[in-house]
């Protein structure tokens, strides 16, 4: 049993809803219509493109192809983490830091899931590898960007307090322990909340998709549980590594707070 295919007409009807929303936004001067149009267009183009890529990928299924696609996904996620920072590290440091943390966490967790838990032959079967990695990257990206943003913003506001603690003989690590803890919390809260609410408030997207695709609900549920655990672990490890690396960058070898490492972006999202 497959999914009932959607025709272009079906999608146009859904698009009409957005057009109505856009008109209403213009009428009410909400100023959302332009962003709404751009992002609706982006989602259409990007997803159609990735559909084509996946079609080719699933037909070939070579490891090199899978690795290449994963690297592109990682690079884009890294850029996105940077774009969401109000105060970001100067130069390529911030990109490297976010991307490195996502690489460590998402890739290792995805590898364990693919090679040990799901254990397909071959383990990198793209029908499993790419969606799994995509979900992991998407979530760690959110977690890491939230916690980095929180950390740099709080440090910026509390720099005198942090320096006061340094003056009393604390190391940079000690002086920022509480700030780091709060930043990690804010990165982890979304996944913790969605684990707590899963199934009660909403059916998670992947499970919905599997059910629509004809899987039995219990199979779908088991995969969803797996994904939740992987996302929580991946986000947690990613956030911790990002906070550790960020602390190291923001203090020099003499435990001096170096906020000039941060660059304030004029337009933050």
């Amino acid at each position: 049993m497959g999914v009932k295919p959607l025709s272009p007409l079906d999608l146009s009807i859904a698009a009409c809803l957005l057009i109505v929303l856009g008109l209403l936004s213009r009428r009410l001067k909400l100023g959302l219509e332009k962003q709404l149009a751009v992002s609706a267009l982006r989602t259409t183009v990007q997803l159609l493109l990735i559909g084509q890529v996946l079609r080719v990928l699933f037909a070939h299924g070579s490891l090199i192809f899978v690795v290449a696609i994963s690297m592109v996904m990682l690079a884009v996620a890294g850029r996105e983490v940077m774009a969401r920072q109000h105060r970001r590290l100067r130069g390529s440091q911030g990109w490297l830091l976010g991307t490195g943390s996502m690489f460590i966490s998402s890739f290792s967790v995805a590898f364990i899931a693919l090679a040990v838990i799901i254990a397909n032959d071959p383990w990198y079967t793209p029908q499993y590898a790419i969606p799994l990695l995509g979900m992991l990257l998407g979530n760690t990206m959110n977690g890491i960007s939230l916690s980095m943003d929180r950390m740099t913003e709080t440090l910026w506001q509390q720099r005198q307090l942090v320096e006061q603690r340094l003056l009393l003989g604390e190391t940079g690590n000690e002086a920022t322990a509480e700030i780091r803890r709060q930043a990690m919390r804010s990165g982890m809260i979304p996944i913790i909340n969605s684990m707590a609410a899963a199934g009660l408030v909403s059916l998670p997207g992947m499970m919905t998709g599997q059910i629509l695709g004809g899987s039995s609900p219990m199979d779908a549920v088991k995969y969803q549980i797996l994904i939740m655990f992987l996302i929580a672990a991946g986000t947690g490890f990613g956030v911790m590594s990002a906070m550790w690396l960020l602390t190291r960058r923001l203090f020099d070898d003499r435990d001096r707070l170096q906020l000039d490492q941060l660059h304030t972006s004029t337009s933050s999202r």
Binding site: Q160, L167, L168
Partner: protein, 208 residues
């Protein structure tokens, strides 16, 4: 001797500064605002990047971990900051000398159970001095330690800081905007010019 010696200290385009702060003596420092007094203290405490060397007795700043240096060379900033809710949480080991120091500055021991958010600026400033002295610093750098205090508390604070300097035989650098205060407490006085030059205005020549 436990003197604090600055050798060719350069920071943010200022200096080089060569200065010897003699242990057990109070060195007063005045200067126009913006002349870099606070920056000088921060460089000595190794809180800002600098060139040149700072040495306390045999202890060379660059050769010890930054945290131990700052515990040993205590800097009191002009404004104090507190991060826990209660005063007492900022003090690690409540002991005899803590109670004594609190009393010298006009506090009852129960001040430790006060909430930080209820402290006045002057109370914070006096408590910050006690908090700093609890580290048993071997040198003191004070940035306007009595700026927001009333006359009675200024006197208490001066008495206590002078006594710490003499009894513990530590070098003490005292930044103040009040020439009369420096006349009361300081053994030697320096003036920091707007262009960053440091000149001795009172006391016998020593240093280099």
């Amino acid at each position: 001797m436990n003197d604090l010696q600055l050798s060719n200290l350069i920071f943010q385009g200022r200096g080089p500064y060569n200065l010897r702060l003699v242990s057990g003596r109070i060195t007063g420092l005045q200067g126009a605002s913006g002349a870099g007094k606070t920056l000088l203290l921060r460089a000595i405490a190794d809180l800002d990047p600098h060139q040149g060397e700072v040495q306390l007795g045999d202890m060379i700043c660059a050769q010890v971990p930054a945290a131990s240096w700052r515990k040993t060379v205590g800097l009191l900033p002009a404004e104090s900051f507190w991060w826990f809710d209660m005063v007492g949480e900022h003090f690690q080991s409540p002991g005899q000398d803590l109670t004594g120091q609190l009393q010298q500055l006009g506090f009852e021991p129960d001040v430790l159970h006060w909430e930080v958010s209820r402290l006045s600026t002057g109370e914070k400033q006096r408590l910050a001095i006690v908090r700093l002295l609890q580290n048993h610093p071997r040198a003191l750098l004070l940035d306007e330690p009595t700026a927001s205090l009333d006359a009675a508390n200024i006197e208490r604070t001066e008495t206590m800081l002078v006594a710490y300097c003499r009894q513990q035989q530590v070098p003490l650098l005292w930044v103040s905007h009040d020439p009369l205060q420096l006349e009361r407490v300081a053994d030697v006085e320096y003036y920091l010019e707007n262009d960053g030059t440091l000149k001795q205005v009172r006391g016998e020549q020593h240093g280099r």
